[in-house]
Amino acid sequence: MAFEGLADRLQTTIQKIRGKGKVNEADVKEMMREVRLALLEADVNFKVVKQFVKKVSERAVGQEVMKSLTPGQQVIKVVKEELTELMGGEQSKIAVAKRPPTVIMMSGLQGAGKTTTTGKLANLLRKSYNRKPLLIAADIYRPAAIKQLETIGKQLNMPVFSLGDKVSPVEIVRQGIEKAKEEHYDYVLIDTAGRLHIDEELMQELRDIKEIAQPDEIFLVVDAMTGQDAVNVAQNFNEQLDITGVILTKLDGDTRGGAALSIRSVAEKPIKFVGMGEKMDALEPFHPERMASRILGM
């Protein structure tokens, strides 16, 4: 019975406890088994699940739950509280540089949603903060990546800086930022090519871009459907770039999105925004509590 929510999962245990009228440690253990399952099915990394279950178990065997008349509900409450806590407070603020332009750099695996999110962020910056962004097309590898960003720029009526695909990304970024300074743009958004975290050459390229761009914000863009591998990706990108935040895409799907929790636990960087569709206005601030409910299937 895959993909049941946590409440469904706890049903049997709750029934049993009702019959007995009292909770003991074995009951809590059984409940924790279900919690573990729910989290694994939501794609939370198994190591993260282990630590998490340990922590929740400690609270669950405490007075608060054991003596309660509704232990099942109490367990769910504890789990949700801890999950929300783990995922951090609301952090949807975007950095602002003391001296403009503020530079934002995107990074992530292939197909995560970087280019689309670059457009969405620019749109948000203009709409909600009245900013004037310049987009830089620094993906010279993916077929028609520049064209994709230019099309998005056209849709948004926003300028895109590009030097074609024969100039190195580092040089494109250098010249792009120069232009932004000269023409008084207040934000620069750098779209980079998707790459594997284990691709040393391309990861070095990102470090070189970082060196030249001195970004105020480095976002790791992650597909919300990512499974157990999310921890490897987040850890590697964070170690190599010291990212400032995460954007979780494709949350308009029906994935539970446990990757969010995995990423938080290994990178300890805030999830700032979530992508909720393919259109340019489908970017929202991240809500830890909603995410917790979603992971638990509630």
């Binding site: 099915e41 197909g111 459907m225």
Partner: protein, 288 residues
């Protein structure tokens, strides 16, 4: 050797490795239960001996009695139409480019249909692949009806006596009902123009995807009767273990794996090699 005996710890570690590979809890439990029984039945004491039993079991789950699993249904003479479906960003367009290259080098006449009229730069992306591998692309303008593009492409493929027509579609999340309906319509148009077509409907799955891939497979199968899977991005650190559950529950075979972004980075799926890769960790640890 790290494991001196085949005990509970051994099986627990095995469970973790499989879960870490995204195989999915239910399938892992089922598998490990069977393994335990088999180990008991054969009275196996040596961890190294278990390795081969694990491989056998996994491949057994995988193959469950069908042959020529990874072969495509290619028409002996006449046109073969292959439709590509899947969620956003998994590698549909890239896989089409790779397959076009493969068929072309086998001497076949190939045509590609730019059925993603929605995503910015999608048509141009396919055109770059067309230039790369030397294959024509049938297209309309951005925003036009994808079913109409397919109609054009089928007519062109017939007129030019092509052997293979590869149809790209826009990425769509399986819970978007309208977009899934659109996909059904695309397929219907192809069916109407060529009885028996599309001869393959390939669902592209990103190997980094977790348990959601199971729902993807179910929903896309319902909508388009998926005949095979392409498991892309296996060159990363993700293992794409969910294909075992998909195979187990839905009997959809994996036909190709994607191993990079270049045109040669596509290989036929090899269950034994794949299964070995799934838990090469256990094997290496046991051999240490």
């Amino acid at each position: 050797s790290r494991y001196r005996s085949v005990d509970e710890d051994f099986f627990e570690e095995l469970e973790e490795i499989l879960i870490q590979a995204d195989v999915g809890f239910d399938t892992v439990m089922e598998l490990v239960e069977e393994l335990k029984m088999e180990v008991k039945r054969r009275n196996i004491k040596d961890p190294e001996e278990v390795q081969s039993v694990i491989s056998e079991k996994l491949i057994e789950i995988y193959e469950s009695g069908e042959d020529h699993l990874s072969a495509l249904h290619i028409q002996e003479d006449g046109l073969t139409v292959i439709l590509f479906v899947g969620v956003n960003g998994v590698g549909k367009t890239t896989t089409i480019g790779k397959l076009a290259h493969k068929f072309k080098s086998e001497g076949k006449k190939v045509i590609m249909a730019a059925g993603d009229t929605f995503r910015a730069g999608a048509i141009e992306q396919l055109e770059v692949w067309g230039d790369r591998v030397g294959v024509d692309v049938i297209k309309q303008t951005e925003g036009s009806d994808p079913a109409a593009v397919m109609y054009d492409a089928v007519q062109a493929a017939k007129a030019r006596k092509a052997d293979i027509l590869l149809c790209d579609t826009a990425g769509r999340l399986q819970n978007k009902v309208n977009l899934m309906k659109e996909l059904e319509k695309i397929k219907r148009v192809i069916e109407r123009e060529i009885p028996g077509a599309p001869h393959e409907v390939l669902l592209v799955l990103d190997a980094t995807t977790g348990q959601n891939a199971l729902i993807q497979a179910k929903t896309f199968k319902e909508a388009t009767d998926v005949s095979g899977i392409v498991l892309s991005k296996l060159d990363g650190t993700a293992k794409g273990g969910i294909v075992l559950a998909i195979r187990n529950e839905m009997k959809i075979p994996v036909k190709f794996v994607g191993l990079g972004e270049k045109m040669d980075d596509l290989q036929p799926f090899d269950p034994e090699k794949y299964v070995y890769g799934l838990f090469s960790n256990v094997i290496e640890e046991a051999e240490e």
